[in-house]
């Protein structure tokens, strides 16, 4: 299934649009839209935090997720945890011991693949804030429809008929899997195909990062 994929697939993702420094008062911020899904992330740090949450060996990452209606829920804690764990693997926290890095996420529009969009937006906001990072990361979402076909970066309409959705996050160095979470039931083959296709598609996201950085920072681009 993996071998004959190349001729079938022209890896296409929904159009991405991004703006840096969307918020004037934060150390780094980015707004990213992937198709109709829009997410806004602000990063502040490294800054002072209360003694009890300080860590002597690395910085403490605090993630706050607010959805559209603003009510806190268990689901938000889970989403915060996904972003936190993913960023912790990417940020060089040991350079900023006893400090905190705050990541605040605001949901603007959710038309499918919201967490993938948020993770990409967080990565861009971190790049904008100038926090030292080990590598950048790219998130790609996939869906499995009721015939068992894998759809890359599904639209809102495709998600309504899908039986499972998966989101993968890859690092930029050797494209290994950092984070993965799924929803629904699926077969091993569907998982493998989705993983490999997302891995290839992550190239597009990394290319997009490069374009954006080139536009905003002509020194390092």
């Amino acid at each position: 299934m993996v071998t004959d994929m190349k001729d079938v697939q022209d890896f296409k993702l929904k159009p991405m649009k991004c703006e840096f420094n969307f918020l004037s008062k934060s150390d780094g911020s980015a707004i990213l839209s992937q198709g109709d899904t829009v997410s806004l992330v602000s990063v502040n740090g490294p800054l002072d935090i209360k003694m009890t949450s300080q860590r002597i060996d690395k910085s403490t990452l605090e993630v706050l997720f607010s959805n559209k209606n603003g009510k806190p829920s268990v689901e938000n804690r889970y989403k915060e945890n996904i972003v936190k764990q993913t960023c912790e693997a990417a940020i060089l926290g040991s350079l900023y011991p006893r400090t905190g890095i705050n990541v605040t996420i605001q949901e603007l529009e959710d038309y499918g693949g919201f967490l993938a969009c948020t993770l990409n937006c967080t990565c861009l906001a971190l790049l904008n804030s100038g926090v030292s990072m080990r590598n950048v990361f790219a998130a790609v979402s996939c869906a499995v429809d009721n015939q068992g076909n894998v759809i890359l970066d599904p639209t809102h309409a495709q998600l309504q008929t899908s039986t499972a959705t998966m989101t993968f996050v890859f690092d930029s160095r050797d494209k290994s899997l950092i984070t993965c979470f799924t929803d629904g039931c699926f077969s091993q083959d569907a998982y493998r195909e989705a993983l490999e296709r997302s891995r290839s598609a992550s190239d597009l996201v990394f290319a997009f990062y490069r374009d954006i950085i080139r536009k905003y920072c002509n020194v390092i681009g």
Binding site: R77, K84, M166, D174, L177, T182, D183
Partner: protein, 283 residues
């Protein structure tokens, strides 16, 4: 001497063990801990189970209540899971409202149960739009020594398997509810979902090692409590793969994890079935 070494150079101590292809408790990388399971140990609950995976101990109790279904979903009952991590289970937790970690574990457990479709919520409905069962599943961790999700799922599924729903007579005219506690029917369970946890350890940068069923100490050495790779199976289908941060995985590691999870699932299914059969013959 070894204890001192472990305290002063924890990373090197751990690395040395991994280098000689063994773990701190003498297991191989792909070996899981012994599972001890007992069902119906709490007589006051409608169904219950206690599970011990190594030192990790989880008690699960199920309580039934009647309620009116939601107006949007008039033919569905309710299934509410709750994972509690009291201060007693580990020094990391403080008494008080549920910690973020407890909420995350709770979310993972309820998602696995929901995605595996092992319980059809329609079975919990008695009279559409009027009456349905609310199944409260409370899981309390007594001792937290890693792989908490695995233990929670085993305890929950074993409790479900022993759950008997009393028959209810509902009079549509007088709206009178009559519960017959003597006449009980088994709740239908589709399949047997099992979760398998792995800790991902980056040994000298390049080599990735998967530790099956990690202890709390191993989890901490491999990027903290929340970064396990958790693979769940139900009826030969995958019903959830979670991996949040921690060491990164290549394609080969992924294949290995899926293979090991499949084997582990079969082993756990045997344990649960053996336990239930044992109880059945004793009656």
């Amino acid at each position: 001497m070894s204890e001192v070494y472990k305290l002063i150079h924890p990373v090197k101590h751990f690395n040395d063990y991994i280098s000689i292809k063994t773990r701190l408790d003498g297991r191989n990388f792909d070996e899981h801990r012994n599972i001890k399971l007992n069902v119906n140990s709490i007589k006051t609950a409608d169904a219950s189970a206690v599970v011990k995976c190594g030192n990790t101990t989880v008690v699960c109790g199920i309580k039934l209540e009647l309620a009116v279904p939601k107006a949007e979903e008039p033919d569905l009952g309710f299934l509410i899971t709750n994972v509690e991590l009291p201060a007693l289970c580990s020094s990391k937790y403080r008494p008080g409202p549920p910690s973020d970690y407890a909420q995350v574990i709770n979310n993972i457990v309820s998602e696995i149960i929901k995605n595996s479709k092992c319980i059809d919520l329609k079975d919990l409905c008695i009279v559409p739009d009027k009456l349905a069962w609310v199944v409260y599943c409370d899981m309390v961790c007594i001792d937290h020594d890693g792989s908490l999700v695995d233990a929670c799922i085993i305890a929950l599924i074993a409790s479900f398997k022993t759950l008997l729903l009393p028959s209810v007579n509902y009079d549509t005219e007088t709206e009178e509810i009559k519960v017959e506690t003597n006449e009980r029917i088994n709740l239908k369970i589709h399949g047997l979902p099992v979760a398998t946890s792995f800790a991902v350890y980056e040994h000298f940068q390049s080599q990735i090692i998967l530790l099956t069923d990690p202890t709390n100490y191993e989890e901490e050495m491999c990027g903290g409590n929340g970064s396990n790779l958790i693979i769940s199976y139900n009826k030969g289908l995958l019903c959830g793969i979670q991996k949040l941060g921690g060491g990164s995985l290549s394609t080969e590691n992924n294949e290995e994890a899926i293979r090991l999870a499949e084997q582990h699932t079969i082993a756990v299914e045997k344990v649960i079935n053996a336990c239930l059969e044992g109880k059945g013959t004793n009656k």
